[in-house]
C-alpha cells in the first residue's frame, strides 16, 4: 500500500515548522503605512503593553489623537523592524538604552532639545544619562529603569547565602540555577562575578575567562527560560536561583505569594533603562515631543511605575512625590519612598553598571558563546 496522499501533507507540515524563519521575517518586516501619515495618529514603536489605555488614554483625550503601537520583543527585533520599515512609519520609539548608539549611528533618531523635557526634575544621577548623549547632544529621554541582580527562592536560600554570585556554584544550587534565555544580562552577571567593571567592555582574555566561568555552570543549570516560562519556572521551583533578572519579574510574583526576591550581589548588578526618542524625519515632531513630555510628567511617570503587569522604577523626583502622595502602599512596595531606604541606594552605593551591548566583541560572538553553553 502506498500513501502518496500523505507525502505532500507531511512535507508541508515540516516545511511550516522548519520554515518559521521566513514567516516570522515577513511578520516583522510588514508595517502598513496607510495610517502612518494621519496627523491624528502617533505611530509608536515599543515593547509590548506600552500603549495600554492605563498609560496613554489621558494623552489621547487631551490631544485628540490615537496612539498606534507596533510592538517588538527585544532590541534586535526593534532594530530589524525600524531598518525594514519605510521612512515615516514611526514617530516615536521606546528603546532600551544600550541600543541607543545603534539607532543614532544609523541616523534613525533626531536630536532633542534638553530644555523641552523635565530632565532637571530627575534624580541627579540620571539628569545626564550617558547612553543618551552623543557629541554633547541629546537623543533620548529616560522614562523608567530597573535593576538586574540575582533572583532567588526565599524558602530555599537566605539573603546571606545569595550575597555573592558565588551562590550559583554552590552545592545547594546544583541543577537549580535557571537562566533567562538572553545572552546579554545572563553573561553580564557572570562578567560582574569575574570582577569586570564595566562588564561588557572587556578584552579577549577577559572574554575567554567569562566564557570559561559560564561553562563551569553547566552542572548547575536547570534550564533556559523565555519570558513566558521564567515566571512559571520560579513559581514551580524549577529555577531557584536566576542571575540577570530583577524585580520586573520577582515583584509581581511576590505580590502573588510566590516566595521569590531579588538581591544585588556584592559584585554588583545591572541597570536596564528604557528611553523615548523621536524618529528622524517624522512630520509629527510636535506630537512626538508632547508624548514624551507627557510620559516624563509626574502623572505619566506614576502611571509608568504602577502599570499592573510590569512595575518599574522612574527617574522623576516629582513623579516619586506624586506616587508617595497618591499611592502610598505602591511607593513602599516599589521601594520609591522619599524617606528611608529606596531603589536609589544601590545606585548611590555604586553597585550598578549599565546593561550595554558588547564593546570589544561582536554581538554574534557573545551569542555564539551563549548558544554553545546551552548545548553543552
Amino acid at each position: 500500500m502506498r500513501t502518496p496522499f500523505l507525502s505532500g501533507d507531511i512535507s508541508r507540515r515540516s516545511f511550516l515548522k522548519a520554515g518559521v524563519a521566513a514567516g516570522a521575517l515577513t511578520a516583522t518586516s510588514r508595517w502598513s503605512s496607510a495610517q502612518a501619515d494621519d496627523p491624528k495618529v502617533l505611530n509608536y514603536l515599543s515593547w509590548p503593553g506600552n500603549a495600554d489605555p492605563y498609560l496613554v488614554e489621558q494623552f489621547e483625550k487631551e490631544n485628540g489623537v490615537k496612539i498606534r503601537i507596533k510592538e517588538y520583543v527585544g532590541g534586535d527585533q526593534m532594530l530589524a523592524v525600524i531598518n525594514q520599515s519605510p521612512p515615516g512609519s514611526f514617530d516615536v520609539v521606546l528603546a532600551d538604552a544600550e541600543y541607543m548608539h545603534l539607532l543614532h549611528a544609523a541616523d534613525f533618531i533626531e536630536e532633542m532639545d534638553p530644555a523641552d523635557y523635565p530632565l532637571k526634575d530627575y534624580w541627579p544621577e540620571f539628569q545626564k544619562f550617558p547612553l543618551h548623549w552623543f557629541d554633547g547632544k541629546l537623543y533620548g529621554v529616560m522614562t523608567d529603569f530597573g535593576y538586574l541582580g540575582l533572583s532567588y527562592n526565599t524558602k530555599e536560600f537566605t539573603p546571606k547565602e545569595v550575597a555573592s554570585y558565588a551562590a550559583l556554584w554552590s552545592e545547594k544550587a546544583k541543577g537549580k540555577v535557571g537562566f533567562f534565555d538572553w545572552y546579554l544580562p545572563s553573561m553580564g552577571s557572570i562578567s560582574l562575578s569575574n570582577g569586570n567593571r564595566p562588564p561588557f567592555d572587556i578584552d579577549e582574555a577577559h572574554f575567554e575567562a567569562v566564557k570559561e566561568k559560564l561553562f563551569s555552570l553547566k552542572q548547575q543549570a536547570s534550564g533556559f527560560y523565555t519570558i513566558a516560562d521564567i515566571f512559571s519556572s520560579l513559581t514551580n521551583g524549577r529555577a531557584q536561583l536566576v542571575p540577570g533578572i530583577g524585580e520586573w519579574i520577582t515583584l509581581g510574583l511576590r505580590m502573588n505569594g510566590v516566595p521569590v526576591d531579588t538581591i544585588i550581589p556584592e559584585e554588583g548588578g545591572l541597570q536596564w533603562t528604557e528611553s523615548l526618542s523621536i524618529v528622524k524625519g517624522t512630520p509629527k515632531r510636535d506630537l512626538a515631543r508632547k508624548f514624551i513630555q507627557y510620559t516624563t510628567s509626574p502623572e505619566g511617570q506614576v502611571k509608568m511605575a504602577t502599570k499592573v503587569d510590569n512595575k518599574k522604577s522612574i527617574p522623576s523626583i516629582p513623579g516619586w512625590k506624586l506616587l508617595n502622595e497618591t499611592m502610598t502602599k505602591e511607593a513602599e512596595i516599589l521601594r520609591m519612598t522619599l524617606t528611608g531606604p529606596n531603589v536609589m541606594d544601590e545606585y548611590k552605593a555604586k553597585k550598578i553598571q549599565f546593561r550595554q551591548l558588547p564593546n570589544q566583541q561582536e554581538i554574534a560572538d557573545w551569542n555564539d558563546v551563549w548558544s554553545e553553553f546551552k548545548s553543552l
Binding site: M1, R2, T3, L6, S7, G8, I10, S11, R12, R13, S14, F15, K17, A18, G19, V20, A21, A22, A24, L25, G74, D76, Q77, L79, A80, N83, Q84, L102, A106, G175, G178, D181, W182, Y183, A221, S222, G223, F224, Y225, T226, D229, S232, S233, N236, G237, R238, I363, A364, W366, N367, D368, W370, S371, E372, K374, S375, L376
Partner: protein
Amino acid sequence: MAGSPRVLPAVLGIPVVLWQAVFFAAPLIFLVVVTFWQVKSFRLEPAFVLDNWTRILFSTTFQRALVHTFTVAGTTTVLAVAIAFPAAYTIAFRLSTRARDLAVAFLVVPVFSSYMLRIYAWQIVLSPEGITNALLGSIGIGPLPLLGGAFSLQVGLLTLTLPIAVLTLVFAMAGIDRTLIEAAENLGCRRARVIAHVIIPSLRPAIALTATTSFLLAFGDYISPLFMTGSKPPTLSILIVDTVKSGSQWPRASVIGVSMLVMLALVLGLGQFLSRGRAARKEATR
C-alpha cells in the same frame, strides 16, 4: 475539451498545483535563496556568500543540536510505535464496536485540543511542587526531578505524537482482511504467530507511516523542548529561534531550516522505501 473525462481531473487539479506552488514551492525556494544572503546593520541584504553555510555546519552548537534532535526524535518514534501498536491492537481487535468508537473518540479529542495547553498541564503535573510530587511526598518519596530532562521531554513529545500514532494504526488494523486472520487460526497458528506473520506484514506500510509521522512531528517540535526541558540542551528548532533572536541572523537560521528539511526528506524517503518493500516482495512472489 472541457467536458472530456481526461481533461476534467487536470482542471480540478489546477487549484492544488497553484496552492502548492504559491505556499510551498515559492517559500521553499526563497528559504534556500536567503541562506546565501547577508545581514548588515540588522537589515537583510541580497548577496551570494557561503559564509552562513560554513559557519552553521561547522559549529559545534549546530552539530550537537543535530545529534540531540535526531536522538530525541528517534526515541520518540520507537516509543510511539511500541506503545501505539499494542494499544491499537487492543482497540481494533479486542474491544466491542461501541467501546472501540468511544476509544477512537477519546483519541481524536486531544488531536484537536491545544498542544500548548496540554504541555502547560504537564508542567503542573510534573513540576517539583506539582501534583505528582505532592502525591509522592504524602507517602514519603521525593521530590523527584521529573520536569526538565529526557523523561519530561518524551512525555511532551508523546503527548503530541501518540494519539496520531494510535489512530493511524487503529484505522490500518480495521482495514485488515479478517479472513486472513481466520485462515491462519484455522491452520493452527497461535495469537503471537498471527501477529508476527499476518498482522504485522499487512500493517507494514501503516507502521512505516506511523514511524515517519512520529519522527517528523518530534524532529520539528519547538514547544516540548522549550517548555519541558527549558531548552537544555537546545534542539534544531530552538537553535533557529536563537539564531534570529540575537543579531537577526535570518540567513543562518534559514541554513538550519533547510538542513532540517533535507533530513526530513531523507527520513520520509526511507519511510516510503520501507512501505514499498512489502509490495515489491509481493510482486516478486507472484
